[in-house]
Structure formats: C-alpha cells, structure tokens
C-alpha cells in the first residue's frame, strides 16, 4: 500500500517536471525579440524562422542578442555607419535597449560584410575575433550560401563568447576532437606501457657497469665550419585579398563597438 503511494507520488513529481520542461521553452519564446532583419530578402520565410529560433536560443545562453542585418540600399551610408544608425534607432540589446549585441551586417549594394559587437559583445568579440568570424563566413557569402553563413555566424559568436576575452578562441585546446583524441592517445600509451612493463623492465644502463675510474674521453673536437643564413617572408595576416580589418568605432548615439569589415 505504502509502496503504491510512493509510486504515485513519484509519478506526479515526474509529471510536474515534464510540464515545467515543456512550458519552459514556451515561456522563453514569449520574451524573444526579432533577431533577423532581412531587408535584402536573401532568405525564405522558413529560413528566417529557423535562424530566429537558433539565434534566440544562443542569444539567451550568452545574454547577448545575436543579430543579422541585410540591406540592398544603405541610403548612401557606409556599411559601418548604416549598422550604427540601425543599432541606435532600434535600440538593440539583450539586457536593455542599446545593450549587449553581436551583429552581422550584409551590404549587398557594395558587397560588404561587417561583424560587430556592442558592450558584452564588444568585450567578448573584440576586433581579432570579429576578424576570425568574418574570415570563416566570407566563403559562404561569396558563394551565395547566405543561410549557411548566417547560421555559422550565430554559432561562432556563441562559441567565441564562451571563451574569456583576450584568449584565442581557435586554440586547439578548446576543440572537442582534440580533447577526445588526446585523451585516447594518453590512455592508449599508458595501457600499452603497463602491459609492456608487466613482465619486468630492464633497469640497468651503461653507467651501471662502467668503471668510471678507468673510463675517459680521449679526444674531443668541436670545430666550427660555417653558418648558412636563409630568409623567409613573414606570413601576412590578411589571408585573402578581400580587404579585411577595419576595427570598431562609436555610433552617433555614443555606443562603442568592435568590428571587422571586408568584402565578399
């Protein structure tokens, strides 16, 4: 009897847990704001919906709105200016109007791309990280695969914002494949060494039997012969000719941001 009661209590509890789990995302969706501003019409309705939901998910995790902005007409403005004005006007930001934002701007008129971060977005996506993101998505943009590029932008921004500012987010230590591979290699070598040494090891070396009183170096010559010098051009940082870099700035509304621009 008691057991049954327990079981029922447990079932009720599980039900509650499920209800909470089901309701939770619904509640989350309620507080979302628009993330994709596709003025250039590069995406289908389904693609927009899909990007909205991905961006909402990741924006919430990092407390930074991840925005995608496209345009065919910058009203004569530079892409940076256009983005700054859009930010000031819309009052973008996860935590407050004019708050934490990571924003990708596509200017189809001049075929330019600009990746920028405001506040927490600026702190975590500094100019060099913006460069990294821009370089990674530029091939997709050039190829016209906008949906893939935008998706990559959202995921990379999310990833990079999970790494302390100032640290190279592409460090091999952060790669899951490297972590798994290294762990397997370490374990493999350890086990092989254990098996190999299970039958006892040779613990003697030459020094064990050498009679140092009657051993010596009888001749020792170290003659310098020549020096050969070779030179090599320093690898340049700009990997493609699309003209990258740029850096950040301050919007007319007084909001400082990081950034990286390039063409595609």
């Amino acid at each position: 009897m008691k057991n049954k009661l327990h079981k029922r209590n447990f079932s009720i509890m599980m039900l509650f847990v499920f209800i909470i789990l089901i309701i939770h995302p619904v509640m989350a969706i309620e507080e979302t704001s628009q993330k994709v501003y596709d003025f250039a019409g590069l995406l289908t309705a389904e693609e927009v919906a899909s990007l909205e939901s991905i961006s909402n998910k990741y924006s919430q995790k990092r407390q930074v709105d991840i925005i995608i902005l496209t345009t065919k007409d910058t009203q004569g403005k530079d892409v940076v200016q256009y983005m700054e004005d859009f930010y000031d006007e819309k009052g973008l930001g996860y935590d407050k109007p004019h708050g934490n934002t990571a924003i990708l701007t596509i200017d189809l008129e001049h075929r330019e791309v600009y990746v920028a971060g405001f506040y927490k977005g600026e702190e975590y996506l500094d100019n060099s990280r913006c460069d990294l993101i821009r370089e990674k998505i530029t091939p997709d943009l050039s190829g016209g695969d906008y949906y893939e590029a935008f998706q990559a932008f959202i995921k990379l921004s999310y990833q990079y914002m999970g790494v302390k500012p100032g640290v190279n987010p592409e460090n091999i230590l952060f790669k899951l494949w490297f972590q798994v591979l290294a762990a397997i290699i370490v374990a493999g070598f350890s086990v092989i060494a254990m098996a190999y040494n299970s039958g006892g090891r040779i613990t003697t070396r030459g020094s064990t039997y050498m009679d140092s009183n009657n051993s010596r170096i009888t001749n020792r010559i170290d003659n310098y012969v020549r020096t050969v010098t070779t030179k090599q051009k320093k690898p340049s940082n700009n990997s493609n000719g699309s003209g990258g870099g740029g850096g950040g700035g301050v919007s007319s509304g007084g909001h400082s941001h990081s950034g990286s621009r390039g063409s595609f």
């Binding site: 990833q159 999970g162 230590l173 374990a187 003659n223 012969v225 020549r226 020096t227």
Partner: protein, 342 residues
Amino acid sequence: MMVIQYKCPDCGADMFFDSESGKLSCDSCGRKDNVEDFPKDFIYNVFTEGETVEYHCKNCGAVILTDTDTTATTCSFCGSGVVLGDRLSGNMAPAKVIPFTISKEEAMKEFKAWCKNGLLTPKGFMTADRVKSIAGMYVPFWLYDLQSKGHADAVCTKVSSYTRGDYIYTETSYYDVHRSVDLQYIKVPVDASEKMNDELMDKLEPYDYSQLKDFNTPYLAGYLAEKYNYDDKQLFSRVKSRTDKYVESYIASTIKGYHTTSYKNKQIDTKQIDAHYTLIPVWMVYYDYNKSEHIFAMNGQTGKVVGKPPISYGKVAAWFTGIASVSFIVLKSVAWIIGGGF
C-alpha cells in the same frame, strides 16, 4: 669425490646452505659452518669427461636423476642435497658465486606480493594460489670485463632565428664534431645456460656485486645448479652488441649543446679483458593458470620478479577508460581555466 654431500659432523644430519646466515647449516642441531673455510680440492681434481653416467646418493644409495647440465640437485628419494663434483671441476669450475639471500619462504611471499601489484593481471591470478613449484637455482653466467674504444664523427648544427622587417632569418651553424672514448665495463652479466630465456635473465639485473664470493661447493647444498652450455668466447658477440649500445649512448651524452646531430661514422672496438664464470641465484616459479604454465624468475639476491603474467582484457579496458576519462576531464579543466571554452 664425484658426489659431494654435506653431513653435519655433530649429529650426522644433512646440511644445507642457509640464505639468511650465509653459512652451511644443520637444521637438526643448529651447527653453522663458514663456507669460505671448506677446502677447494675438487676444483683441481680432473675427472675423465663423460665417464659418469650414474650418480648414487651417499645417503640412501638411490640413483640421482639428473640431466647432463645439472651440477647440483637434491636426491629425489631422501631429499639430501647433492653436489656433482666432477661437473664443477677443471675448466667447468665456477670462479665466483652470488649466494642466495632470499629463502624459499621469502621468495614465495615476494612473489605473492608481486602478483597482487599487477595492474593488468586477472583477479584469479593475483591470489597466487596456483603456484605449481618454486625452485632455487644457480644459473651459470659469464661476467665480462671489457674495454671499449669508440670513435665517432658527426656534423652538428645550432639553429637560431630572428626577424628583421618583413623577413624571418634562420641561421644554421655547422660544426664538425669528433669524439674518442676509452671506456671500461666491469662484470657485465650474460647468462650461459641454454635453457634460460635470455630476455628474462637480462631483466633480472642488477646484482649486488659486493656479495660476490669465490666459488665453493657448499653454497650449492640444497639448491639446483647448472653448468654453462656456452663458453665466454661463444657469448662474446652477445655482450659486445650490448656494450656497443652503451658506448654509443655514452658518446651521444658527450655531444651537448647542438640542435641536431647526424653521425658520419661510428667505430666501436670492444675487447674482452676477462670473463668470470659465475653462478647467479634465481628462484624459478612455475605457475599454472588457465591450463597453461607461466614461468617467472626472481632474482635470488634482490627479489626482483620478471616474466609475463597473463593480461586481463577487462582490466585493460577499465584502465583505458579510466585514464581516458581523467585525461579528458583534465583537458576540459585546462581549457576552462584558460578560456572557459566549453
């Protein structure tokens, strides 16, 4: 004189070599005799080789069963220790011996402890309750004194690089390096028994040569012993290839401060100064596990155990998973500490 047995002068019981005191001792009355004081006449006796086919125990008269390499054994009927003098005389006389310092009981205890420490050994093996037999045996070894002269010529480089303007400059400096060494190696052991696995015997080293004694037959009383199958000339190539490696690594250790070393030629000339026929104490442990016999050898002086124990795949898998998980967690933590990257 062909069969040597030791009777206690006081009570007439059989005497055995006692590993603890290092003396020939009588279990019945406790008499202990210094081995060094026994006469060594047998060494100079000359027996006609191949003359003897059968040995008889002086105690009970039974035939002592031996194979042709045996030099000491126990009578299978009365258990008395027997030393076969004719096989230890003339040029078959050992020069030196390291007496047993580990008794049978201690050997068994040490072996059990070793089994327990096996990281990959199956549980059933670790209890060491299936030891079929354990035998104390003096294994014939040659201890070589060697002189090696080595010459090596090498081209070594030092590399440095610096940056000027848009270019990275790499400077490689070349050196002609020569080394000549004159090295002496003392008492490098090589086992001279055909029956013994060379690899196993090599792993038993090192021995403490401070306890090396002049050979005398009472050391063998109560143990098994064999005579050598290969003489020092036949085994020289084995010890030479080993010493050559020592010389090479010694030369390499004298070439320091370079980034790369490539040898143009190496010449190592190893000569034998002397070789001492020496009996080395080894406990042989025969262990039945899973219907197959595993052989282990224990250094009768230091207690070091060698020999391949069976491997449990379950334990291998467990260790692998454990180490992999721990390494993964450590890497994750390092990643988290430097960047919080998840």
